[in-house]
């Protein structure tokens, strides 16, 4: 029986007190094609070798002088560095009790004494093949996971920094609070700010459906063009969305699409002028507890080159809260997507004093409501026009 080339170079340690025992096992393994065989004649020697160099398998005779095979097993298992080394223990097959003690000491499997070549090779092969599979899988997964980890952190860096939000608050008197739960599969929601002249700024909430690298690629592309055109077209939501739709048409293949809400907050005049392309309705809650749901519609980005977008306007009196959320939030809170659930939640938080505490309460309730499906990411933006003018 020849072995696969992938396991031929796996280092194997053969531990046996007798030269005959070592030779027997060594000869069988060498004849099968194993090339990296080491031998130890005592338990002490075996433990020193295992500590000094990496092995993929140890074959240990239970009857060994100083320490015996069971103790070797226990020490190999007890050491973090060697804890996962497979150990085949050679036992007398007649004694059921001895075999149980070997398993209790940490043996991975047993081989009978005197050694049976077919049995020895069967047990060695299965152990080494499994181990190589683990190694292969781990290497591939570690590399891909490492790459995705970098990509995920780059994705997070697309979001506005705390510094930027503080500066915005200082300059416009509008605080922007964000609650974003990202699936570990990135893609999904992305939001951002565009500084405009005076006490105005643009805010967008973008959702790229799907997940994984391709969704991330499209999020990065759209983010890039939003930055590109933001300064130029940020004051004109309708034109801005048309341009983004054109770009999305170039970027996306076939059936891909994205939804977006973009609007301008004017803290001087007290309004929010916005356009939506398949995004969820914006919601304004005034300090007196009234909530108003804005209209939403529009064809998602990337579907048709001819999509035109019409802006709508919501009044934003001092102290009002403008809530923007991903569609998931609305649909989860109430089946009809009427926003009553979110509206009530926000209204209650505003009535109880609003502020960061109120926002945190809403975010917490959202987490509970959406907790059933943690894979789906969602975002809630809470834009507060400060009451004291």
């Amino acid at each position: 029986m020849r072995i696969a080339e992938t396991i031929a170079d796996c280092p194997i340690l053969i531990v046996d007190g007798t030269a005959l025992g070592r030779t027997q096992i060594g000869t069988i393994l060498a004849a099968a094609g194993f090339r990296a065989l080491s031998f130890a004649g005592t338990g002490e020697e075996a433990l020193a070798m295992v500590a000094a160099q990496p092995f993929d398998l140890a074959i240990v005779d239970i009857r060994m002088p100083d320490p015996d095979g069971l103790e070797i097993c226990r020490r190999i298992r007890g050491d973090r560095a060697t804890g996962d080394l497979p150990v085949l223990v050679q036992t007398t097959p007649q004694s059921s009790e001895e075999r149980n003690r070997a398993f209790a000491a940490g043996a991975t499997d047993l081989i009978a004494k005197p050694v049976d070549p077919a049995e020895l090779l069967a047990r060695v092969r299965i152990q080494l093949e499994s181990r190589m599979l683990i190694r292969d899988l781990s290497l591939y997964r570690d590399r891909v996971e490492g790459e995705l980890e970098i990509a995920r952190s780059m994705f997070d860096q697309l979001l506005p920094s705390d510094t930027m939000r503080q500066a915005l608050r200082q300059d416009t008197g509008v605080a922007v609070l964000a609650h974003r739960v990202a699936s570990d599969n990135f893609g999904g929601d992305l939001w951002g700010l565009i500084r405009l002249a005076g006490r105005r700024f643009g805010i967008f909430l973008l959702n790229i459906p799907g997940s994984g690298v391709t969704a991330a690629v499209n999020a990065f592309r759209l983010h890039t063009v939003i930055q590109e055109f933001g300064q130029m077209l940020g004051d004109d939501p309708e034109a801005f969305l048309s341009v983004l739709n054109d770009c999305a048409g170039e970027f996306f293949d076939g059936d891909r699409q994205a939804t977006i809400l973009y609007g301008v907050v004017d803290a001087q005049e007290g309004y929010f002028r916005y356009v939506t392309a398949g995004a969820a309705n914006p919601l304004v809650v005034t300090p007196d507890g009234r909530s108003e749901m804005g209209e939403a519609g529009g064809v998602p980005l990337g579907i048709s080159a001819n999509s035109r977008y019409e802006s709508a306007r919501l009044a934003l009196p001092p102290g009002a809260v403008l809530a923007l959320s991903s569609a998931t939030v609305l649909t989860t809170l109430d089946a009809g997507g009427t926003g009553v659930g979110l509206g009530m939640m926000v209204a209650r938080a505003v009535a109880e004093g609003g502020g960061e505490d109120g926002f945190a309460r809403v975010a917490r309730s959202l987490g509970l409501a959406l907790g059933r499906d943690p894979g789906d990411d969602h975002t809630l933006l809470w834009i507060v026009r400060e009451p004291c003018e």
């Binding site: 047993l110 591939y140 780059m154 592309r221």
Partner: protein, 400 residues
């Protein structure tokens, strides 16, 4: 990537509740004993067969992950069932544990010869039986999760790879530019993993001029690739708003850098070369943001001339300025651009470097066909040593 195995599923004992075990034994008491042992270990899907024939039939209907097989049975015995099952490619790697009486070494040898994976000794010892069953089911679970992860990751990265490939000019566009600009183009694009940090492109300019650019982001893999999509989006927007009358590569480079700077996280940067092939002047005018040195040579030249390429990489300083340099590119002249992987091939204790690459190119100057020339240079490069970064290379040859 959802559905990918987490560390826990690899390092811990697999969940055996989904494992399927077929017990084949003519002795009902034995079958029930085995089923009870398996049930005690959390294996819920156990099917029984009372001889080899029934066993073979149940392979089809039950699709076990493992077979526990008695050897001595009426009609089709264990040896025969093992042989028949191995003859079917679907069951080639199905683990089969035979139950063997300890006193019969020849049975064991015969069982292995018939294709058994391993055996468990009779009388049955529960600890040993379950240890061996777990080993095989664990291997199977690993294999499955390995394949699932790979399939998912590969298909996802393959999609992204297609998107990246489409950043570069498609063959029909190249063919058209070759025709309209009387130029021959050969290109090579090989990311070191599924996705890379390189890309290149062309832009038509007025007066028969043609602009070419080559980008090489720091790092490689998905992160670097995301940056290529951003930079490509910027290049596209700039090309759309400024179609290029009086195109100045240094100005364009500065515009790109200004846009890229705020987008790139600290520590990430790109090198880029933008050049214009000006047939009327017989020149290649270019600007470099830390790119490799462009090489040109004319008909009859024995070796290429390498242009200066000093310049601040993109993404480091928003106010960076770039300078325009020129190289001669008469009719019949050729231009060679490449990412830095080509000069960083390890050679001995160092790397190939600019001079080394220029020598490789010089050795192949006589090859007239641009594709064959590029292939020969790339083969020489691969002969020098392992190429561990994304490699992009581009040859543009003016017709004589």
């Amino acid at each position: 990537m959802s559905g990918a195995p987490t560390k826990a599923t690899i390092d811990q004992e697999p969940d055996l509740s989904q494992a399927r075990v077929l017990v084949v034994d003519d002795n009902r008491v034995n079958r029930n004993l085995l089923a009870a042992y398996l049930d005690g270990a959390g294996i819920r899907h156990v099917e029984q067969a009372q001889d080899g024939e029934e066993g073979l039939a149940k392979l089809e209907s039950f699709r076990p992950d493992l077979v526990l097989l008695d050897l001595m049975m009426p009609r089709v015995d264990g040896f025969e069932m093992c042989r028949r099952l191995r003859a079917d490619p679907r069951w080639a790697s199905l683990p089969v544990l035979v139950q063997s009486n300890l006193n019969r070494a020849e049975d064991r040898a015969g069982a292995f010869a018939a294709g058994a994976t391993d055996y468990v000794s009779k009388p049955l010892n529960a600890v040993e039986l379950l240890a061996r069953v777990r080993i095989h089911l664990r291997k199977l679970a690993l294999l499955n999760s390995l394949e699932r992860f790979r399939r998912r990751a590969e298909s996802e990265l393959e999609l992204a790879r297609g998107m990246q490939q489409r950043l570069m000019p498609p063959p029909e566009r190249l063919a058209e530019i070759e025709r309209t600009h009387r130029i021959r183009i050969a290109a090579h694009f090989a990311p070191s993993s599924e996705l890379g940090g390189d890309f290149w492109g062309l832009q038509r300019l007025p007066d028969g001029q043609l602009s070419v650019h080559l980008v090489d982001f720091s790092g490689h893999g998905v992160g670097a690739a995301l940056n290529t999509f951003r930079l490509h989006a910027i290049c596209q927007q700039l090309a759309a708003v400024a179609p290029g009358a009086g195109f100045d590569p240094a100005v364009r480079l500065a515009q790109i850098n200004r846009r890229l700077c705020p987008l790139l996280p600290c520590g990430q940067f790109a090198t880029m070369l933008i050049g214009v092939i000006d047939p009327a002047a017989g020149l290649f005018r270019y600007a470099s943001a830390g790119s490799t040195r462009p090489m040109v040579w004319g008909p009859g030249d024995r070796q290429p001339v390498s242009g200066d390429s000093a310049g601040l990489p993109l993404g480091l300083l928003a106010e960076a300025d770039y300078e325009v340099r020129t190289l001669p590119l008469p009719p019949g002249g050729r231009l060679f651009l490449y990412s830095d992987a080509a000069v960083e091939v390890p050679v001995g204790s160092g790397v190939l470097d600019d001079d080394g690459l220029a020598r490789l190119v010089a050795d192949r100057l006589e090859i007239a066909d641009v594709r064959k020339f590029l292939d020969a240079v790339l083969a020489d490069l691969h002969g020098c040593g392992p190429i561990e970064d994304d490699l992009t290379a581009l040859v543009l040859a003016r017709e004589p």
